[in-house]
């Protein structure tokens, strides 16, 4: 099946810093999503981005489908950005789509 690798596994930054999270995937995909899991376990959908670039406030994401990677940018980090960021891609399984997750990047923003 498809493999999804995220880097770095851990990232510790000071408030106000910028960060780039990377997601590599081993096969072509039709759907890629970025999620933020907050300290209470809730997975929040950040971007649905199978290709191209999208921006939402301080966050933006770029997916280069032909080269099989996606990047999540966080600018001017705040302590509320802390948590685990997951990249997930769609895979056909028994005729239906299912989401395959990377292992996540744990981001810690210190005040």
């Amino acid at each position: 099946g498809i493999q999804v690798e995220q880097s770095p596994p851990d990232l510790i930054l000071q408030e106000g810093a910028n960060s780039t999270l990377r997601c590599n995937f081993s096969d072509s995909v039709n759907n890629l999503q970025w999620f933020h899991q907050n300290p209470w376990g809730q997975l929040i959908n950040l971007f649905y981005i199978p290709s191209g670039t999208k921006q939402n406030g301080r966050l933006s994401a770029t997916t280069v489908a032909t080269e099989r990677y996606s990047l999540l940018y966080i600018s001017s980090s705040q302590t509320t950005d802390s948590g685990v960021y997951f990249c997930a891609v769609d895979q056909i399984h028994q005729g239906a789509q299912k989401l395959v997750f990377g292992q996540g990047t744990r981001l810690t923003i210190n005040p």
Binding site: N31, W40, G41, L43, I44, N45, H93, Q94, Q97, L99
Partner: protein, 114 residues
């Protein structure tokens, strides 16, 4: 916004009990999913359903079953709970058949089996 609601945030059950985890979505989505999340293992798919009364095994279905009698509700059943089923359980839904639909997750149920 799509809302996916899981009935309990925290549950504590005894070994051997039958456990029901409920998930309800309010956007008429065809597809629903159950994942479990464990430290070091990430999110793993247990079961999914792409229509009422339809179910498909995911990557780790052993020890679990599911029920989808209505489109909006997808239940995960632990027939006889065991301590290795202590985990965070996440339900998700997505709309439509085929590609092009994002996923929305519930807030999770943290289950402890003692």
């Amino acid at each position: 916004d799509v809302k996916v609601t899981q009935s309990s945030r925290y549950l504590v059950k005894r070994t051997g009990e039958k456990v029901f985890l409920e998930c309800v979505q309010d956007m008429d989505h065809e597809n629903m999913f159950w994942y479990r999340q464990d430290p070091g293992l990430g999110l793993r798919l247990i079961y999914f359903s792409y229509d009422v009364k339809m179910k498909e095994k995911g990557d780790i279905p052993e020890g679990y079953s599911v029920s989808r009698e209505k489109k909006e509700r997808f239940s995960l059943i632990l027939e006889s709970a065991s301590t290795n089923q202590t985990s965070m359980y996440l339900c998700a839904s997505s709309g439509g058949q085929g590609w092009g639909y994002g996923y929305t997750f519930g807030s999770g149920t943290r289950l402890t089996v003692v």
